[in-house]
């Protein structure tokens, strides 16, 4: 066997070549931008067809702006990356993977650049936005982000399915809703659930519908165990206790993926579904033959008519970015009525600006008009402006499932939430 030695020079050459190849291979593919352009990394939480729609707008922005290039990446399902990247000193230039309920939390951690001065310079004073949305982006006298989409929660149902049960009108009170739901239920001879009317979800929404609230801003106290909220949770859990928590568990564990043709509502396993106006687009895509309508949440005596809760993704600029001016330009451009409207229309979300939202193409669909009216009405509620909403939501979620499973009473569960979240809030404020 012959032995071939490699010279030091050849070794160094080979190493250099390998290093260059490795570096080149890690560069983002398909990016064409000039050296003098400001390169912006934009992280979005949108994925799938919604990402594609937004990519169209990003491409348009890049074409119109010779000095800025935006590269969009989805971080769907990996939202924790955002804070890690900011903390690691390598933040994206623009992030919309920030939920409205997290805005105060992230801003108060010093992770975001205030946009107040930018907005003032651009003449954005909130007059064109839905006031309750605009107010939700402010904290400690600073504007921390702008939303380009929003949504309002409604109840979806299928009118033909309701008609089959002999009901010509959808329910408007809680009693009527209960009645309709029970009429929907089908339980087979073995006691297995085959169809339900509704499995009430999301205490935040129902608490507001019943007339309650989760936080008292004046006193800075958590009000999860407000008697009205307790009544709302008892009502929700009543569906579980009537149908049997184990049976409901077996039934729901067979639900198909939400974003698919197997969504339980699309396949007729649920009579009513708590959704938002975005569901119109999903229905068109996954169940085009289904006739679907929407109503505001039916409410009890003393509750709130036309009540909704809203949320959505907020466009923000993290602290420590290289080009905050260019980042703001991207957000400002996307917030223009035309661009915002285009994005919202294609993904069927409500534009946060009144002018864009009331365009004919939106309001000709009465379901969209309903969501819009709810968002613009007196009973639209955003998340509390506190820095512990993630914690609050996780504790509420746990309380909800515990009560539904029959492990705790609504009062016990919400007393516990109040105590634990208040302590967390007090600690965060320290």
């Amino acid at each position: 066997m012959s032995e071939k030695r490699i010279s030091r020079r050849d070794f160094l050459r080979a190493s250099l070549a390998a290093g260059t190849a490795a570096t080149l291979s890690t560069m983002p593919a398909g990016l064409t931008y000039a050296q003098e352009q400001a390169f912006l990394n934009y992280w979005t939480g949108w994925s799938g067809f919604e990402f594609d729609v937004l990519q169209g707008l990003v491409d348009q922005f890049n074409e119109e702006h010779a000095n800025v290039y935006v590269n969009m990446t989805t971080v769907f399902g990996q939202y924790e990356k955002v804070l890690t990247a900011i903390a690691g000193g390598n933040p994206p230039d623009v992030v919309s993977a920030v939920w409205l309920h997290q805005l105060v939390q992230i801003a108060s951690q010093g992770a975001l650049t205030p946009l107040t001065a930018y907005a003032e310079a651009a003449g954005i004073d909130g007059s064109k936005y839905f006031p309750q949305l605009w107010n939700n982006w402010w904290h400690n006298g600073e504007l921390w982000g702008l939303m380009c989409t929003s949504n309002a929660r409604v109840l979806a149902f299928s009118p033909p399915a309701l008609a089959e049960l002999g009901m010509s009108e959808p329910p408007s009170s809680i009693e009527e809703l209960d009645e309709a739901c029970q009429a929907f239920e089908i339980i087979d001879s073995n006691g297995n659930i085959e169809r339900v009317g509704l499995l009430p979800d999301n205490l935040t929404w129902w608490a507001h519908v019943f007339g309650g609230s989760l936080y008292d801003e004046d006193s800075g106290t958590i009000t999860a165990n407000d008697p009205v909220n307790v009544a709302a949770l008892e009502w929700m859990a009543g569906y579980w206790s009537r149908l049997g928590p184990e049976r409901v568990a077996a039934f729901t564990s067979g639900f198909g993926d939400y974003l698919s043709t197997q969504n339980p509502f699309f396949v007729g396993k649920e009579g009513f579904k708590q959704v938002g106006e975005w569901f119109i687009q999903f229905q068109k895509q996954f169940a085009p033959d289904l006739e679907m309508d929407m109503i505001a949440a039916p409410y009890p005596d003393g509750g709130r008519p036309n009540c909704t809760t809203f949320g959505g993704s907020v466009f923000t600029i993290p602290t420590g970015v290289m080009n905050p001016d260019a980042a703001w330009e991207f957000i400002r451009w996307l917030s223009e009525d035309d661009h915002m409207g285009e994005f919202c229309f294609n993904i069927q979300n409500i534009p946060p600006k009144v002018g864009a939202a009331t365009a004919e193409r939106f309001v000709r669909d009465h379901r969209f008009q309903l969501a819009l009216d709810l968002l613009n009405g007196p009973n639209a509620f955003g998340p509390p402006k506190i820095p512990v909403n993630d914690f609050y939501n996780s504790r509420l979620g746990e309380a909800e499932t515990s009560v539904k499973a029959g492990m705790l009473s609504a009062q016990e569960a919400l007393d516990r939430v109040t105590e634990e979240v208040q302590r967390e809030l007090d600690m965060a404020m320290m």
Binding site: A87, A111, Y258, T401, A405
Partner: protein, 315 residues
């Protein structure tokens, strides 16, 4: 252990080294220096730092703030943390023994002389080299309430279907049931141990009239007790860090996990949520150090009570 031995070698042998030996040592050190530097920077460093952080409030965006023992004191009152401990102990005290006994039975069966043995051995080993996430997703379908094969079977025999992962009473037993699937490595280790059991001992026992059960309990198991001890130690440490299967099984669209009413919230999952979803790094570091202490104590107890282990080679 390796690190300590290495330091000892340098400390003790250094004065007696010849020039050639010193050169060899230097070259050796140079070769392993990437590992030493990497281990120091990325393991030792963070470990020490996490101890420091455990006495602070630290959200990674703002500088850590010293809070003394507060994190540890809050943990004593943290209900979900206690649920995490309870659920993890459930897996360690109930799940682990079931798995080890099951794996041992499988190893004993696979140690018999039957036709197609290598095929059976492969069948039991293959799942453990499949990625855990991929296997777990398959199990999600097996456990599916509506279409899953388990509930299909229950319906077939006239029983009511079970919410394997959505019913708080069933989720942990379901995870244990699924865990049997991942026993290939332990089975392999047991099998290797079983092959080492001296045949002469088994033959003498047979000549003395011992039956299969007696041979198993009086000869085979004592002879492989060091192997059993090893698997217990390794698995106890592993089960205290139980994470992937439960996380994949119970994670929801909004990124949370832990099952209905935290019925599948395990220690490591809560630690992960605290650190990387709530960004309470100080609090999470305190949890990590408590977990370390728990695992350390459990391991020490196992060693202290290891009189039942019989080391044949030593005699």
């Amino acid at each position: 252990m390796g690190w300590g031995a290495f330091l000892m070698t340098i400390a003790i042998r250094r004065p007696r080294l010849s020039k050639q030996q010193r050169r060899s040592l230097l070259i050796g050190l140079l070769f392993i220096s990437p590992a030493i530097v990497g281990f120091t920077l990325f393991n030792i460093g963070p470990i020490i730092q996490s101890l420091q952080y455990s006495f602070t409030r630290y959200n990674i965006l703002q500088p850590p703030r010293y809070v003394g023992l507060n994190n540890y004191l809050f943990l004593l009152e943290d209900r979900v943390f206690k649920i995490g401990i309870q659920n993890t102990l459930y897996m360690v005290l109930i799940g682990l023994p079931i798995h080890l006994v099951f794996n041992m039975l499988m190893a004993l069966l696979l140690n018999t002389k039957i036709k197609g043995l290598s095929i059976y051995r492969s069948i039991f080993y293959v799942p453990s080299i499949t990625p855990v996430v991929a296997s777990t997703i398959v199990w999600l379908w097996i456990f599916n309430g509506q279409f899953g094969i388990l509930n299909e079977f229950l319906r077939f025999i006239g029983l009511r279907p079970i919410g394997w992962l959505t019913d708080p009473n069933w989720v942990k037993p379901s995870l244990i049931f699924m865990g049997a699937w991942f026993g290939g490595n332990t089975i392999l280790i047991y099998l290797a141990g079983l092959q080492d059991v001296p045949h002469d001992l088994l033959e003498s026992a047979e000549l003395d009239g011992a039956n299969a059960l007696q041979k198993t309990f009086r000869i085979t198991l004592p002879m492989i007790s060091p192997v059993i001890f090893y698997t217990i130690i390794v698995n106890v440490i592993g089960y205290f860090q139980y994470f992937t299967e439960a996380w994949v099984m119970t994670s929801t669209r909004d990124g949370s996990a832990g099952g209905v009413a935290n019925s599948a919230m395990f220690y490591s999952m809560y630690l992960y949520q605290t650190a990387f979803q709530q960004f309470k790094m100080g609090y999470a570091s305190a949890q990590a150090w408590i977990l370390f202490m728990i695992v350390l104590v459990a391991t020490l107890i196992l060693f202290k009570t290891s009189r039942w282990v019989y080391y044949h080679a030593e005699e």
